[in-house]
Amino acid sequence: MSSGTEAPSRRQSHQSGGSAPSLRIKSLAALLVNQIAAGEVVERPASIVKELLDNALDAGAMRIVIEIEAGGVDLLRVTDDGVGIAPEDLALALAPHATSKIFESADLDHIGTFGFRGEALASIASVSRLSIRSRPRDEESAYTIEAAGEVLSEQRPESGPIGTCVTVRDLFFNTPARRKFLRTSQTEQGHCLETARTLAMAHSHVGFTVRIDGRERLNLPAGQSPKQRVVAILGEELAPRLIEVHADEFDDARGLALWGLAGLPELARPTLKGQHVFVNGRPIRDRTIQHAIQEAYRGLIEPSRKPTAVLMLEMAPAAVDVNVHPAKAEVRFRDSGLVHSVVHRALREALLRADLTPKWPGQDRGGFREFGSDRSPGPAGQLGSGSGGSVSAAAFADSFKQAVGGPDARIDYDALRSAMGQHVPEPSQEVGPIPVARPADRVLQVHKSYLVTQDEQGVVIVDQHALHERVMFEQIMQRLQSGVFESQRLLTPAVVSAPAQRVERLADLTPLFEKLGVEAAPLGPDTIAVHAFPTFLFDKGVDPSEFLSDLLEQAETDGFPSSSEEALHEIVDMMACKAAVKAGDRLTEQELAELVSMRSRYERASNCPHGRPTSIRLSIRDLERQFGRT
């Protein structure tokens, strides 16, 4: 374990200004300085867990045990088997801005450790009763040092295993105000557990155990593959619905390697809770990456929902500035454009390759719970290396482990790169089911709305309108690239009445209309005349006045995006929707076959342009389970 020294931070000197009642400026007492620092670092018990885990990981621990009592207020203990702190350094470890992690300011440009400020232990010690027991490998016994507020004890020898054990008791005993802000112990321990789970996700080679009030709440063995670890934390039942994502973009110092698991669109949630992003093993929040994720799922999920994804980025320490946020929850990329494009492309490619047909019934859609919650790994996502995991997965896991595994070789980019390069698993073997290859022999139309057919894995049910809408959308977009749409002039203009504010929107849309073969102009303050309309929409029986009237209404209610790209998207969307077959349209056998075959021909055919699924699958496995055959 380690700790450190740094010039007083900008923030501290800034705050010290206003606290003297005499308005005379004077230096603050060391304890107060540390308590102020603690205000940033130690917000709640979970922040202590985070700091202590960072230290343990920096110490190269292979096993970490976290104990929490009474929400972490009575007791928080983190025990690791890392390199330990030399007895003579113990007292220094508790001094502010004392650290083993950096030496000079140039080091800040390429921070390879999780901690580096050297303020964690000092800050924690200033608001709790802290004891550290540590035994480096070459020492015969451990030494302990205790601190309570300002009082530092003498270090004394004690028996103990190799590694470091930090015990924090009576958190905020000397700052009652802070203590008042803590939530119930249930909530606080939940945050602590969440922190441990998140960090554990990024360090699959390290074993994690969390005990809360004596009960074991998390036990992750050391030496798991990244995938095993993520699945173990997110839940085995999600495994079949996660797609492996990887990218490897190395080019001198602009290196960036990405590995992750992306959830199928059906796993999207209303909040960002399902997203875990790590940069060099550090959990972060980053708007650029969030945006890249959202963009990659565009058209696959409803825009208000957030995809589930676990992404691990590895890059040279020089390419990322982690020294921008006290809790290090945010980072700054030297080249955020590169990060965005790598994340976006990798996710998009993985999604395009994968079979996105949701399983029926959706496990998180309520109902059918017991039947849907498949505890055993699904047909596609074999996980455990011992339980039939594919060879390439296991090999990949091993090499990844080697690359990031050893305490001394934590960031071996070359090894990581070659590991990723050599063992990129074929996604179709590894995760995604094989896409529909042969055309289904027969298609049944049910209630003139749904098509039922089969593929290799079972029964596929298609929403005829949603699928056709998606297909039309792609066709229209494709066709737009080859030029302006053919348009048919009208004998007498089709007249649309619309409120004046909608009529005004028309001017914004006119440039796009020209491309699309729509010619419309205001006729009066609250009427519009359509003079020409695309021939293909006429062919599909779309009425010009109805189309214009609906479009303007949507432009008003949704406040059409200002960028013409997005507005175009919206207009084409409406064209596709209007031109597509509707629920209730009877289709001939030929039309049915044609529509179903389009499923495999178009990108993103699994979802309609609004993000709703176009088809769901009832696998043979599900059927067997329903009929009690397994």
Partner: protein, 386 residues
């Protein structure tokens, strides 16, 4: 009621009945055909009536032997199926017992449950011309009406929210009868003659379905059809000269305003090409082979420098292209390149009997005008060319 019917005549009648009566209706009585057998001395007659609430049809067949007059109400489709299936029979006997209808052939007996005849809505009335409720009346020769309908009905709109153009406009001024139909992209106008009192003026919109049925009911091109227009109905009486008409078709009129068609027909066209109708039809039809959803239109190049010619060409992306040269009998005006939906052109050229047609144009974004003789005018809007 007991009647012995000639099966072939009965089948013709029930086929028409089954095409009017809705197959499914919340009120099963409305899916029925009403049968009424009457006897006047030795002359028996069977009258069949069906309705779909908008259109109703009454047919009278004389090829029956009425043993016992009476009425019956029976599912139209079922009766049609039975009569069609008894194809080995020359005659069929229909006998009614209460609400049950028995249809008998030589070796078959069908007993079908019907409904009390009184539950059927009243049949359309065919009033004498001097009855004040008869409305405005004119008479048209069957052949003439058939031609007028054939030249316009195809241009009506299908399933548009502008209900007025789902029908055919009938306009009569004195003896001048016009039918007009449009779907907003082309307009067909056919002219003919009718017999009416000189001051008769009529303008009403008749639903496509009724217009089509009227054309279908024509049996003899020389017979006269009497048409009565009331406030909300049109009533066609077929073979009206012989007193009681053979068939009476009544239909609700379409409400709403028909587009001002006279304003739409351009009068200032400055380019005029005269064609052999068959040659033009063939040229357009062949060029249409290489159009698709993406590129619906055919390009028409009219030139007058190296002899009069028309080149019709088409190009369907990822499919191919076609070029057809069509001989032009005469061309006046500057060269022009204009695009049309070939289907619209062919639709019109199909209904033209005249050997020659004329196309008049002004500009690529202005309407084209097709004329055949004095009695057919067709306006077609161009498509943009890429």
């Amino acid at each position: 009621m007991k009647v012995i019917c000639d099966r072939a005549a009965l089948l013709d009648a029930v086929n028409l009945m089954a095409s009017i009566a809705p197959a499914r209706s919340p009120k099963p009585q409305l899916s029925c055909v009403h049968l009424c057998a009457t006897k006047d001395g030795d002359a028996g007659r069977l009258t069949l009536t069906a309705t779909d609430a908008e259109v109703s049809l009454r047919l009278t067949t004389l090829n029956v032997d009425v043993n016992k007059p009476g009425e019956a109400l029976v599912n139209a489709q079922k009766l049609q199926q039975i009569v069609a299936a008894e194809d080995a029979e020359a005659t069929l006997t229909i006998e009614v017992d209460g609400d049950q209808i028995e249809v008998r052939g030589a070796d078959a007996k069908f007993r079908v449950f019907g409904f009390p005849p009184a539950e059927f809505p009243p049949a359309p009335e065919f009033l004498d011309a001097d009855d004040p409720r008869a409305g405005k009346i004119f008479t048209v020769q069957a052949a003439s009406l058939e031609t007028l309908v054939g030249r316009t009905l195809f241009a009506t709109a299908r399933e548009t929210s502008r209900y007025a153009i789902n029908g055919v406009l009938l306009s009569l001024k004195g003896k001048k009868l016009e039918l007009v139909a449009t779907d907003g992209r082309r307009l067909a106008l056919a002219r003919g003659h009718a017999e009416a009192s000189a001051d008769t003026e009529i303008a009403c919109i008749i639903p496509s379905k009724a217009m089509q049925m009227a054309s279908k009911l024509i049996d003899d091109p020389d017979e006269n059809i009497r048409v009565a227009i009331t406030d909300n109905q049109v009533i066609f009486g077929f073979n009206a000269d012989a007193g009681e008409p053979r068939a009476v078709l009544a239909s609700a009129l379409v409400e709403g305003a028909f587009p001002p068609y006279e304003d739409v027909i351009p009068t200032d066209q400055d380019k005029r090409a005269v064609f052999d109708a068959a040659a033009l039809r063939s040229g357009v039809r062949r060029a249409a082979l290489l159009t698709n959803e993406e590129s619906r239109g055919v390009r028409m190049n009219f030139t007058n420098n190296d002899g009069n010619s028309l080149r019709v060409s088409s190009r369907a992306p990822e499919m191919g292209e076609a070029e057809i040269d069509v001989n032009v009998d005469s061309y006046d005006g500057d060269a022009i390149e204009i695009g049309f939906n070939p289907t619209f052109l062919i639709d019109a050229l199909k209904v033209v009997d005249e050997p020659q047609v004329v196309i008049e144009m002004k500009a690529p974004n202005k309407p084209g005008l097709i004329k055949a003789g004095a009695d057919f005018v067709y306006v077609v809007m161009p498509v943009s060319l890429q």
